[in-house]
């Protein structure tokens, strides 16, 4: 199949890249899957929770799961008025709401930490993916585990991108001694095996999802820095950069306003692959117990729990394995497609 890439390019560079990206079916499927994953993560309290989406309690209408979803958004929680009994610690909605009370429950009416007496139950109509050794619903834990994966992927690579682009931009634009020193710094950080470096750092820090994100961000910026440096070295010699300099623009302005937007696309490719790698790293750390702390769920610690029950409850292994595999796969598909879309050498290649 020939793509429309052979058509004469019209419109801006971004439009051109988007058009090429759309022509890659695997990339589009990957992107759709990422959007779905983001949706699951964002709406996790509406999909799986031990509190109803909407209910009537003591004569009043409440929206517990919706409130919980909004509270998860940074700063948005402040606009929600307090006082709802459903937001109080230890409030057991299932016990408090009578059977005939009006309540619309989420698709999965279990919280990720909700303990039931049905430990190691196989998949059933009640528990779609079964339960774990503590009787917690696996579907609920997988859904809320997605939040962790999304957060770790985006925030850690956000930190990495910030550091990597800054270091790479300064090294590439200024060149000379600055470039030599920063390039050696990059090489020193690259030399450390990242997983063991992260493990060593996590021994000093208190294990938590925030620390995992920060540590991954602080150790995974080198690839981005190298890409940015290369792009800046190339771009700074182009006419538009020379013209900006001739018009008296300062270095910071040239770097931020003129070079950075043009260097972003290849950096995005690295970031996309980085997100996939960050998800794997987090799963590995949580598997070892140094990532998300129990009883909070992450795909890594769900997999760990599945492993310990492998011979008596093999159903537990598949959900986290498949979720990690698919999440990493879709980010790689998007990364691949993005790389092809921004690389002029790929124009007109048979896909």
């Amino acid at each position: 199949m020939w793509t429309d890439l052979q058509q004469p390019a019209t419109g801006s560079y971004r439009q051109l890249v988007w058009r090429r990206f759309r022509a890659n079916r695997r990339g589009v499927i990957g992107l759709a899957a990422i959007v779905l994953l983001l949706g699951v993560a964002f709406f996790a309290p509406l999909i799986a929770a031990d509190q109803p989406i909407v209910c009537r309690y003591e004569g009043k209408l409440y929206f517990p799961a919706i409130v919980k979803t909004v509270r998860e958004i940074p700063f948005a929680g402040w606009v929600i008025p307090g006082g709802s009994p459903f937001g109080k610690a230890g409030f057991d909605a299932k016990a408090e709401l009578s059977d005939d009370a009006f309540a619309v429950w989420p698709l999965v009416p279990y919280g990720p930490l909700e303990i039931t007496e049905d430990a190691l139950e196989p998949p059933s109509r009640q528990h779609w993916l079964g339960t774990d050794g503590s009787g917690r619903d696996l579907t609920a834990r997988m859904v809320h585990g997605a939040v962790v994966s999304v957060k770790v992927g985006f925030i850690s690579m956000g930190i990495a991108a910030l550091i990597g682009m800054t270091v790479g931009a300064v090294a590439g634009y200024l060149g000379g001694w600055t470039d030599a020193v920063l390039s050696r710094l990059i090489e020193v950080v690259v030399c450390f095996p990242s997983f063991f470096l992260i493990l060593a750092v996590m021994v000093w820090l208190e294990p938590s999802i925030v620390n995992v994100m920060v540590v991954i961000g602080l150790t995974r910026w080198t690839g981005i820095a190298r890409f940015t440096r290369g792009e800046f070295m190339r771009l700074k010699r182009l006419d538009f950069a020379v013209a900006a300099r001739a018009l008296g623009a300062g270095s910071v302005r040239i770097m931020v306003r003129h070079l950075l937007p043009n260097a972003l696309a290849p950096v995005l490719v690295t970031v996309t692959f980085g997100i996939a790698h960050a998800i794997l790293l987090e799963a590995g750390l949580s598997w070892l117990g140094f990532g998300v702390q129990p009883p909070d769920p992450s795909w890594g610690n769900v997999l760990r729990s599945a492993y310990t029950n492998l011979r008596v409850a093999p159903h537990m292994v598949y959900p986290p394995c498949v979720a990690i595999f698919l999440a990493v796969l879709v980010y790689n598909l998007v990364g691949d497609a993005l790389r092809d879309a921004v690389d002029p050498r790929m124009f007109g290649r048979r896909r």
């Binding site: 109080k88 610690a89 208190e206 702390q293 009883p295």
Partner: protein, 580 residues
């Protein structure tokens, strides 16, 4: 094309997932420990497969094979086969003299000295005579501050002198006349002629190349001699044919090192190892599989080990100094659910230490039962009141002279890779939240966690402890003086408990002494320095050909004769080079 590929992928997924969808096997009853397992070895060695090998299994490498440096049960299991000492613990964990080595052992009338006379003609594995000088030398090294003897120093440090009067006579002089002195002289031994060679270069016994080599390839005097130790792989011992006592029933004893719990199970079912310590889940669910039953049998017996959550009550946090708060925590623990879900009904709720003594002397306390209302009421009394707005509990606490509002939120540290601890704390955290207390979790690598516990760097932590037969051992856990160097990690301090420990340690009237410990046990339980969670049980699997196995409250190994009694009937050899 793409569509057909997705279809194939989906089909593959269905095929892969479907086998996992069957129901977990139903729990089986714990009727176990067949009589054949405990069958004593015949006196006629011709009936024993003496050419067979016993293949045991460890979770990790020993720290050392030098008995006075030992710090783990794994170390101890190897030492017990390589070394013989003048004193042993029998099946009931009672102190005994080892008749193989000891001609006589006499206490002075004032209980301040003990004189031991050894038998003549004893030798080490390299043929050098075993004498009283070896005992005196070992004691000097144990109490030498330069040698990191760790656990071995507790006990021998209560001896003021240990002198070899001649080749076969040792005199121990005790610092005080105590009924516990007999335990203090029961230390493991090392050969003087081996270690004194390395003393000039390295008095620490752990730094020089020579000492390190000796600590990995020991010369002992027990029924088995050391052959090799391949790190992360195996330790090989060979029967010592010149042993003066009953000869070993196996030509070789090999300990394979398999850290992974699933790996150990697979190895057991493939009969690559002969013993396996089972988790409650493996004992109830996995041992019902045919592959397990084809390989071996399982054994169950009570064990003197309890799991507990210890609270730091040394004042470093605003929560647990208050006895009412600690008692509230005990009432918040859902013991029945924990026993059912985590321990599959095999373990019992722990009612604290020495409970048999308590019952005998009428000091039985009211056991803590799961009662969230009681827990909440105790927290109210302690001043931790629920906020109507968010449901959490708060109290005003003094911080550097200023009154601040403190929320009741603490962190519990649990060991990494523990299978049961995450489940236990999930149950407790859920119930604590219901009464307005937040408990967060922090997973810590095992050695680091122990270090932090010793440094009192925790708010709460989950550990386990194995008690011996001597109640004075509890001094290390609950006497206030053990806060600095002992295992009183949480800083529990009770003048009454201290006084009872002191009295028990100096009391020679056995009945009166036990009464002290019974009362002490009641006070400790009611003060709730811990949540006493469960009393564990011995859960083992043994290859079906093994005989002569006895399960004591400390397991099948750490007593005399322990593994030395195990045997295999003629014709059932499995690992011997000549076996089919």
């Amino acid at each position: 094309m793409l569509g057909s590929r997705w279809l194939r992928f989906s089909l593959l997924l269905v095929v892969v997932v479907t086998p996992g969808c069957r129901r977990a096997p139903a729990p089986v009853e714990a009727s176990v420990t067949p009589k054949s397992l405990g069958e004593a070895a015949p006196t006629d060695r011709a009936l024993i497969a003496t050419d067979d090998w016993l293949i045991g299994c460890f979770r990790g490498n020993p720290n050392t094979l030098n008995p006075i440096l030992n710090s783990s049960a794994i170390d101890k299991r190897v030492h017990d086969l390589l070394f013989d000492g003048p004193f042993v613990y029998d099946e009931n964990l009672e102190w005994q003299t080892n008749d193989l080595l000891v001609e006589s052992c006499v206490d002075s009338a004032d209980h301040l000295t003990t004189t031991l006379r050894l038998k003549k003609g004893l030798r080490w594995h390299d043929g050098v005579p075993f004498t009283a000088h070896d005992i005196a030398y070992t004691w000097r090294k144990i109490v030498d501050d330069r040698v990191p003897t760790k656990a071995a120093r507790t006990g021998p440090d209560q001896i003021s002198a240990c002198v070899a009067l001649d080749e076969w006579t040792v005199r121990y002089t005790h610092k005080a006349a105590l009924p516990t002195n007999k335990w203090n002289i029961a230390f493991d031994l090392i050969p003087k002629h081996i270690y004194e060679k390395g003393e000039a270069d390295d008095p620490t016994m752990v730094k020089s190349e020579y000492n390190m080599r000796m600590n990995r390839s020991p010369v002992g005097n027990g029924p088995y001699r050391f052959v090799e130790w391949i790190t992360d792989d195996k330790i090989v011992l060979q029967r010592w044919d010149d042993y003066p006592g009953p000869k070993g029933h196996f030509e070789r004893i090999i300990y394979r090192i398999i850290p992974d719990v699933q790996g150990r199970m697979v190895a057991f079912e493939r009969q690559e190892i002969d013993e396996i310590e089972l988790t409650p889940q493996q004992f109830v669910l996995e041992s019902a599989r045919e592959s397990f039953r084809n390989a071996g049998v399982k054994a169950f017996a009570p064990r003197w080990m309890f799991y507990y959550i210890v609270f730091n009550q040394d004042g470093s946090n605003p929560f647990f100094e208050d006895r009412q708060v600690r008692r509230a925590m005990c009432y918040a623990m859902n013991y029945p659910l924990m026993i059912k879900q985590v321990f599959h009904g095999l373990f019992e709720q722990s009612l604290g230490p020495f409970r048999e003594l308590r019952a005998r002397h009428g000091f039985a306390p009211e056991p803590f039962r799961y009662d969230l209302d009681m827990a909440a009421s105790l927290l109210d009394k302690a001043g931790w009141l629920r906020d109507a707005a968010d449901g959490w509990r708060y109290r005003m606490v003094d911080r550097e002279g200023t009154q601040v509002r403190q929320r009741f939120a603490f962190t519990i540290k649990i060991p990494q890779q523990g299978q049961t601890s995450p489940k236990i704390i999930a149950i407790l955290a859920s119930d604590l939240e219901r009464i307005g207390v937040e408990m967060k979790t922090q997973v810590v690598e095992w050695a680091t966690l122990l270090g932090q516990a010793r440094a009192h760097d925790f708010e709460a932590t989950l550990l386990a402890f194995t008690l011996g037969v001597e109640p004075d051992q509890g001094w290390n856990l609950w006497h206030s003086s053990s806060y600095a160097n002992g295992r009183n990690y949480g800083g529990y301090a009770s003048p009454r408990v201290d006084a009872l420990f002191e009295k028990g340690r100096h009391e020679f009237d056995h009945a009166e002494r036990m009464r002290c410990y019974a009362e002490l046990s009641k006070v400790v339980y009611e003060d709730a320095p811990y949540i006493f969670l469960v009393d564990a049980a011995n859960l083992w699997g043994f290859n079906k050909r093994l005989r002569g196995i006895r399960l004591t409250p400390r397991g099948p190994h750490l007593f005399h004769p322990g593994t030395r009694e195990w045997w295999v009937p003629k014709g059932l050899a499995l690992h011997a080079p000549t076996a089919p």
